[in-house]
């Protein structure tokens, strides 16, 4: 008997939507999400915006680290480049958002290519150190190149507008971020299921073997850096519009580590995992605070003990726990739950 999800060809296997149900549920979810500003309070919408920006950045890092196996501790640098490019174009040259954001992504991608070449022969710890150093250099540049970035004074970013209609404020900005997230997530999903994506995975699994099979290592590694930093740059551009003010302290090593945490917790080598991880780590601080406040009401020794440093400790703890107990991340947990329902009442 033929199963509903039985796949007979490779084409069927790499389909984005395997069943009409997946397509249907996704549409329901997206329509539901698009109505969020109609029923969500402003703080929820703000958190959704922050999560959306994190999703774009996390997908970018996952393409480089999760799919291509190139560890990067310099992702915050690409966000900084994108954010400052967008901010400068918007504030000094009056560029509209539909020029400033892609420009931010493009400039970040150019820097990604620049970084990609010297990093071609580096792997593991050495690559991590090289990318981290790049992050430190960019942080130094945005702090000290005052004539361009205004340094520690920070740079104000005007609200985006479309044909004279302002898209400032949480609610309107939500739709801009929502659109970008949907477009870039769809693009990433398609990149990873094409020849390019398969080349990335081949490089990750064993670069020598990939080279022997005919994958051009130079081309694809640099391409991965470029795509990843483009996503980072776009996330930075959205961030610039979202906060309306940029300061060098926004783009430290800690931000890169947060993105690493997102893709590890969400699931390396998975677009859905990046989305899960970004959303999860965006709401974790609020979650911890709520739990600590609730626990404080019942356990007196916890009352008033919560402070923001718990969040940083939690990021570290989550990375450790997921690496040890659930290397496939939240995406792995999600897949298991899905499969168990799919196979129900059978256990296999």
């Amino acid at each position: 008997m033929r199963s509903k999800t039985f796949r007979e060809s490779y084409q069927e296997d790499i389909r984005v939507f395997h069943t009409v149900w997946v397509k249907g549920w996704l549409c329901v979810f997206l329509v539901g999400l698009a109505t969020l500003p109609l029923w969500g309070d402003p703080y929820v919408v703000y958190m959704a915006n922050i999560a959306g920006i994190a999703i774009v950045g996390a997908i970018g890092l996952n393409i480089l680290t999760g799919f291509t196996g190139q560890i990067s501790l310099g992702h915050s640098a690409f966000l900084a480049i994108g954010a400052y490019t967008t901010a400068i174009l918007a504030s000094r040259f009056g560029a509209p958002f539909w020029v400033a954001i892609p420009a931010g992504g493009t400039v970040a991608a150019l820097f990604g290519i620049l970084l990609g070449f010297p990093c071609l022969r580096l792997k593991g710890l050495y690559l991590a150190m090289a990318t981290m150093s790049f992050g430190v250099v960019i942080e130094y540049v945005v702090t000290h190149w005052e004539s361009v970035t205004l340094g520690v004074r920070g740079i104000s970013v005007p609200a985006p507008s479309l044909f004279g209609y302002s898209l400032g404020g949480e609610y309107r900005l939500f739709y801009l971020i929502f659109l970008v997230v949907v477009l870039l997530a769809a693009a990433a999903k398609n990149i990873v299921r094409t020849r390019v994506g398969r080349a990335f995975v081949a490089i990750r699994d064993r670069d020598v073997a990939a080279g022997i099979m005919g994958v051009n290592l130079t081309r694809y590694k640099v391409m991965s850096f470029a795509i990843s930093s483009f996503y980072g740059g776009v996330a930075g551009g959205l961030y610039a519009y979202s906060t309306g003010y940029l300061h060098p302290e926004n783009f430290t090593l800690l931000l890169s580590i947060e993105y690493i945490a997102m893709i590890i917790v969400g699931g390396l080598g998975s677009i859905l995992g990046s989305i899960f991880g970004a959303i999860f780590l965006t709401i974790v601080p609020d979650l911890i605070k709520e739990v600590a406040t609730f626990a404080g009401h019942h356990l007196t020794f916890l009352e008033g003990r919560y402070n923001e440093e718990w969040n940083i400790a939690t990021f570290g703890l989550l990375i450790m726990l997921f690496l040890i107990f659930e290397p496939s991340g939240l995406n792995g947990i999600w897949s298991r739950i899905k499969n168990s329902f799919k196979n129900w009442p059978f256990t296999y």
Binding site: T35, D41, Y43, G154, F174, G244, N250, E308
Partner: protein, 401 residues
Amino acid sequence: MKNWRIRVCILVSALLVGICLGGPAFPEGRGVTKDTIKMGMIMVKTGPVAALGLPWGWATQDVFNDVNEKGGIEGRKIELIWEDDQFKTPSAIAAFKKLIFRDQVLTITTCGGTPQTIALLGMINEHKVPNIPNALADEMYNPYQPYVFLLGATYEAQVELMFDYIMNDLKAQNPRIGVVYAETEFGKKGLEAARKRAKQYGVNIASELVLNIGSVDASSQVLALKEANVDYVVTCNLVPPIITFLKTAEKYDYWPTVFGINWSCDDTVVKACGNAAKNFIGINFVGGWEDDSPGMKQIRDLAKKNNRDPNKMLTSLYTASGATAMVFVEGLKRAGKDLTPESLKKALETLSNFDAGGALPAINYTPTSHAPANKAKLYKADLDTKTMKAITDWREPAAMK
């Protein structure tokens, strides 16, 4: 194919409807009920500058608790929600949105440090949040910001007072002045003010050096200043780096007169440095901890009542925050029963010659100006009592072209 188009149509329609309808809606009387007034505060609690934020938060909390114990304001108790921004702009923005959107506070007393407040200026005006920033920069009141009330002398005024003291009180002839600043917003403001004032007095700045907030050693700065024969060091920094600087200078047997702005003018410097602080002069817009004024007595009593040990906290920060909270309490009282962000703003604008019992120089706010008094006292380290002792009365910078 047809289904696909219908779905896209639904999605696009939902997006368009959302964009058209999108816009925040606040209930009337934000943060005020029959029995409570919800106030917010964004102030660092953890991280490298927590030592400055904690006494600030404690004092505001203690003043509000004291008011509550005496029956509140118009029968309403003040509830303070203190959010920690770790002195980081993104955290301050998130905290601001949480306080306004989720907690729906009446107002936010202080919105973090200088970069945080500048980043939030747009939202402060948009959401009508009367606040007293600890960002003491000219641009906080010039041009006029409708919801920002400045309490303390600006960094510019404080640095000018340092130069006035060197040139007019100490009557220095051809002084060799060096500037040591933190690479932050307020540090740069201080540096610029020093350059400007030096030009006005016709003196050159012999050396400009960075000493960052997390520094644990200042050897390179001290040696450079010593090499340049600098005898007056104007600093624009916080308490921890100033302690580092003074101790390092003592190690190299270098004894210039060192000036500090209000964020470093604290008894803690004398207690931590001992003899190394003997030439340290600080500037502050609040009264000294041991002053006899009724305002300072009230603040000392509050600290005692709440077990805040003055030997274990920055008392100048506790005082500044206590005075800030007193200004708010006065504003809330004047706003009366019909309390809204707008009525609080209007009430604060009626403050005239208000000096919090001597804890502050008299401040005057009007509907067109929220400028500070721009007056401060100079304090010198007293090694016997291990405190900063006032050596001048309230004074403002000398007018110069």
